[in-house]
Symmetry: C2
Subunit: 366 residues, 2 copies
DNA sequence: TTGTAAGCGTTATCAT
DNA sequence: ATGATAACGCTTACAA
């Protein structure tokens, strides 16, 4: 009932041409006469042939037309972040010349399964043990690493061993890997300076997590800040306000900002300004301020970071640092295209622009 | 400088075994002695061989280990919707037995590019013309269609022609395609009944778009509702409130709900309850109510739909219909697994559960 | 412009 | 438990 699927050879035979000619008609990689094209296409239609099998084509070509996007966490977490989504958009655009599609590769550490009995027998290290199987067996031409901490080294090792070209966004993967970066520190410095010019002295910093897994709360100069982005933005703020109290959130969301904001605003020495490390956190702080009956920016100034559209913040325009998220993705995509073309891709650092919104103003009179 | 990449044949030779034996060591598809395994692995390490080339393996196996996820729009739009993200999570879980990765296939209609001169010459229809090239050339084993309107028929045709197993979430793709559905109408009916029991008479419906591209605004019984989800939920509400005024949003977001909410609450005959078709819209309506100085639920009752966590709605627990979004995805994944195993997958309809939150209460005294 | 030929690297089958 | 062999379906030199 279901006969063997037609191949390009069948189509060629039916059309009375050679397989290579038929191939050329489908790929367009060489000229073919209109008449030949017509015959081949007609034969294809007659046989229900829908075009070259991508699996066979990719073996022969050595390219699959797929670019992997590796996240340092769950899909859910990644897509909760508007910046990540914008970057994905950019990556898709950037790799467009390749006509490539994006393969989602979440890189969650699988709990290290105890290996088989023969373990101490073998001196051979199974480097793939702590790496999702898709990472080793997905037919990707290149990979973009997103939001990568030091933690994900094993996956990176696998990719390098496979000689898959890799570019990393916001992270350090060693000297050979092109990086797409942001001027986090300088940018945050600008926002802090702005507040200082407005006269703010009592400023609190609301940061991203300083360490994976650490609980929400205050931290001091003694606490190590292990997350790069957090550290960079923190440094920029600290350059202006060296001794500002700092409070670390556990994630970037409005609700998290609200919870953190409540605590920050509850203290005896209430700040006149809060520098939040993301727009979502800033939005939450604004909510917290509203709860306390504080007006923004009259009683409290709030700055964010990212420049994303925060859904539900309609009434305000956030004073924030707008990062070119889509362009970061686009640059990563372009880097991939370059590497695949045999050129070597340079690292890029993007610059945030400071946007004066409506959420930061003069320091309130004492 | 860069010599040819080692193949499994090289590894086999180095290890003194046959290629098929080496293959077995890597795939685990047949038993191999510990000693053989050790030798092969050692040879692989020595040669820098990182495992079978996925492209070759997928040609031979006839499987790529990739499941496509097709969105009826841009990635950006898709990932803006928390329900979609939850579903993606579920799909990933559902296809886990396949050890497959997910390929993103946005299905935006490319502006029909005028074809070459020889056009009227040819009677052969190029069915792929209005379909993204990735759809025709991506090595996917199966596809999950998400949020699909009638619009995307061409892509579906391509997939069927390629004989790629397809399952569709919230949409109708014809009798042969397994569907993952929700009891939208019945569920919405429950929420409406609840409001009626609370005594509400003046109720306004805030719906999803009734037609792609239509502007925000009021609509009546005469207006055709072309979007399935919108129609189903609307019908459920209309069964209880046949003549309730209805207002269509243009998307599902808090800000959109806020804008719509303002207009809904501004009228002369202000409703005592709003039935919103999504949680995000409901959240926006609540914001709008707050703006007018209306208390929820004392002055205005609001119900949502979806049961997602709305970031920034901390103070309320939405009265809503909780849909099993993750399970929908999981079911789609399971259907894919079944179809790939040669079984045929049944359609599934999931049931929403009504959650009594804090946003709907008794009708305020006149 | 079209045809011929030679793989691309792997794995399933069937012996042994 | 291991080995020999034959595809999997296509594309690209190269020749005509």
């Amino acid at each position: 009932m279901s006969e063997r699927r037609a191949t390009i050879t069948d189509v060629a035979r039916e059309a009375g041409v050679s397989p290579s000619t038929a191939s050329v008609v489908f790929s367009g990689n060489a000229p073919a006469s209109a008449e030949t094209r017509r015959r081949v296409l007609a034969a294809a239609e007659a046989l229900g042939y829908t075009g070259p099998d991508p699996r066979a084509a990719s073996l022969r070509r050595g390219r699959s037309g797929i670019v992997g996007v590796v996240f340092g966490g769950s899909l859910r977490a990644a897509f909760h972040d508007p910046v990540t989504i914008a970057m994905m958009d950019g990556i898709a655009e950037g790799v467009a010349p390749l006509r490539a599609a994006l393969l989602l590769l979440p890189d969650e550490t699988s709990s290290a399964a105890p290996a088989s009995a023969a373990d101490d027998d073998s001196s051979v290290t199974d480097v793939t043990a702590e790496v999702p199987s898709t990472m080793t067996s997905a037919p990707i031409d290149a990979a973009v690493l997103v939001g990568f901490g030091q933690t994900r080294q094993p996956s990176l090792d696998v990719l390098r061993a496979r000689r898959v070209p890799v570019v990393i966004i916001e992270g350090d993967a060693g000297p050979d890997i092109p990086r797409i970066e942001l001027d986090n520190s300088a940018a945050q410095h600008r926002a802090a300076s702005y507040l200082r010019e407005l006269g703010h002295e009592r400023v609190t910093l609301l940061t991203l997590p300083i360490r994976p897994g650490r609980a929400r709360g205050w931290f001091g100069h003694a606490d190590a800040v292990e997350v790069d982005v957090t550290a960079a933005r923190l440094a920029g703020a600290r350059a202006v306000y060296p001794d500002a109290p700092a409070y670390a959130a556990v994630t970037s969301s409005i609700d998290e900002g609200l919870i953190s904001g409540r605590e920050i605003l509850a203290g005896p020495d209430r700040p006149t300004a809060v520098i939040a490390q993301t727009d979502l956190l800033a939005a939450g702080v604004i909510r917290a301020a509203e709860e306390c009956g504080l007006r923004v920016p009259e009683d409290l100034s709030v700055t964010g970071f990212d420049g994303v559209e925060v859904d539900g913040l309609d009434a305000y325009e956030l004073t924030t640092l707008v990062q070119p998220a889509v362009e970061k993705g686009r640059a990563a995509g372009a880097a991939v295209v370059a590497m695949l073309a045999g050129e070597d891709a340079a690292s890029v650092t993007f610059t945030c622009s400071f946007r004066t919104g409506t959420t930061a103003g003069a320091v309130p009179p004492a």
